[in-house]
Amino acid sequence: MADDEQDIILSELDDEELTLQMHDDLYDGLKDEIMEAVHILLGRGWTPYDILTKALVEGMRIVGIDFRDGILFVPEVLLAANAMKSGMGILKPLLIETGAPRLGRMVIGTVKGDIHDIGKNLVSMMMEGAGFEVTDLGINNAVESYIEAIEREEPDILGMSALLTTTMPYMKVVIDTLVEKGMRDDYIVLVGGAPLNEEFGKAIGADAYCRDAAVAVETAKELMARKHNQQGTV
């Protein structure tokens, strides 16, 4: 970056410029600037829902595209997601208060025997970034833990992650249990993790394999829309 770029004062930007600046600041993971800008927009009478969707979710969508395309990598996305989260922290209580519409709900966790949660955390953050409510079960989840959580949270989506060839078959154990209990069709099941691929996702009975967090968000939105359409035609 050139040093001769002028300093800018967020509060002096008009709404459109400020929104674009927030997209840039999210991209660069500038947490303090995001929080400041959220407060400015609230002060200007924006609804929490508009700030969420037009500034934060849109900004994270751009981050997601560059992550998907191999331009950004995990460290940059983590910083961006943390900045997003700080903005969300301000908006969350206000969103509930104002009864803003909800995009959907997800329960996510890394499967039994697998400690890896970096990719899963990214999906969790990007899903929140896209406006979903996410319950993160953490690592090392046995089938009972998934079942208990989905009965409690009643999510639209179940997400499972595995990073090891020694743990990825466990996803099938969970899906088979859902089938046995007659619950499988109540949820969209997304799977991900470095050693997986689309064929594996299909073979174990998931709705989709998601290559990365950005693809997870796109897939979740698409399948949610499809689900709503189907329900609409019944």
Binding site: M1, E5, Q6, D7, I8, L10, L20, Q21, D24, D25, Y27, D28, L30, E33, D66, D69, G70, I71, L72, F73, V74, P75, E76, L78, L79, V111, K112, G113, D114, I115, H116, D117, I118, G119, I139, N140, L164, T165, T166, T167, M168, P169, Y170, K172, V173, A194, P195, L196, N197, E199, F200, A203, I204, D212
Partner: protein
């Protein structure tokens, strides 16, 4: 006294490493979700069989069953207090297998990632990571490992911590990263970047390179970039035997022994000195790789086109080096606040 790996590296044109650990152990009945390291004390005969599989297939180097043997990983199984015991046991069985072979075989003490993010993007401090690697490494050496083998790392920070642990132990070591995201590691390290990084370390590794990742062809594309920036350092290629498929309840890798034989020769022709497999690579693959390396004359450095033609296409358009690397990760900004 020169360590065994250094000596073999100076004597030989190439060395055959081993194949998969997890895939082999699954075939012996390891359950998904269980810690393979427990078998170092609970199923010692099976671990010996794992090692013998590599030894009898012609491997010059094989890795101990200790990939997840650091405190952070073992904590998951409530075994964080058993790091020394489990690592030492993995190396002791390996030493016996190597010594019983009648050949000159290197026991490499495997150290996989902690599974945590390091500072600045995560909570794990450099000092804590060094301590974890040092604890595992000391036990591997005590059990008879010739060299410490840091593998499947994705960030420079974690590799740096492992390197420091090896330096503290005054141990010869090797290090490989997994390049699985658009040609780079998950954390954005490029193939050429790893070469520069490894050659800049104060306690330099005997060899470095790539393991796991996507498929054999992607791994060789990574090697292509690494060779260009390696300045003659010894390089390691340990690729997966193709792509994982789920067949009748098991993970099956689609790379045939013949294909892995071709992969091994292409890796050698690219300039890799230590050649092995990773996930899905079974003893029959190793046999085919050794035979191919022995019987195929050294060829010219293969082009990316030849690699793709022989082993299959790449998973991404670019390997993330060159122009793409210079453009990333910054995009055009309108203005920046100070």
């Amino acid at each position: 006294m020169t360590d065994r790996l250094s000596r073999l590296l100076s004597e030989r044109d190439w060395l055959l490493a081993d194949g998969a650990t997890g895939t082999n152990l699954f075939n012996m009945g390891l359950m998904s979700g269980d810690a393979p390291e427990m078998w170092n004390v609970e199923e010692t005969a099976k671990i010996r069989a794992l090692y013998d599989g590599a030894v009898n297939s012609g491997s010059d180097i094989f890795l101990t069953n200790s990939f997840g043997g650091n405190a952070s990983r073992l904590k998951l199984h409530n075994a964080q207090n058993r790091v020394a015991e489990l690592n030492k046991a993995s190396a002791e069985i390996a030493r016996e297998a190597a010594d019983a072979s009648g050949r000159d075989i290197v026991v490499a003490g495997s150290m996989g990632p902690t599974g945590e993010l390091l500072v600045p993007v995560g909570p794990l401090t450099h000092a804590a990571a060094v301590e974890m690697f040092e604890e595992a490494g000391a036990a591997l050496l005590a059990g008879g490992a010739d060299v410490l083998w840091v593998e499947t790392i994705s960030s420079e920070e974690e590799m740096l911590a492992a390197a420091e642990a090896c330096a503290n132990l005054n141990a010869p070591w090797c290090g490989t990263m997994s390049f699985d995201t658009a040609g780079r590691t998950m954390m954005g390290v490029t193939s050429t970047g790893l070469s520069t990084f490894m050659n800049g370390l104060p306690h330099a590794p005997l060899a470095f390179g790539a393991n796991c990742g996507v498929g054999a062809s992607d791994l060789l594309r990574t090697m292509t970039g690494m060779v260009d920036a390696a300045g003659g350092s010894n390089l390691i290629a340990k690729g997966n035997a193709g792509i994982p498929k789920y067949v009748e309840g098991h993970i099956h890798y689609d790379g045939t022994p013949e294909l892995m034989g071709q992969y091994a020769c292409l890796a050698r022709d690219l300039g890799a000195k230590i050649i092995g497999g990773c996930c899905g690579t079974m003893p029959e693959h190793l046999v085919a790789m050794r035979r191919a390396l022995e019987e195929t004359p050294v060829g010219p450095k293969p082009s990316l086109e030849l690699i793709a033609e022989t082993l299959g296409g790449f998973s991404s358009a670019s390997d993330g080096t060159g122009e793409a690397a210079e453009a990333a990760p910054k995009r055009e900004r309108r203005r920046r606040r100070s």
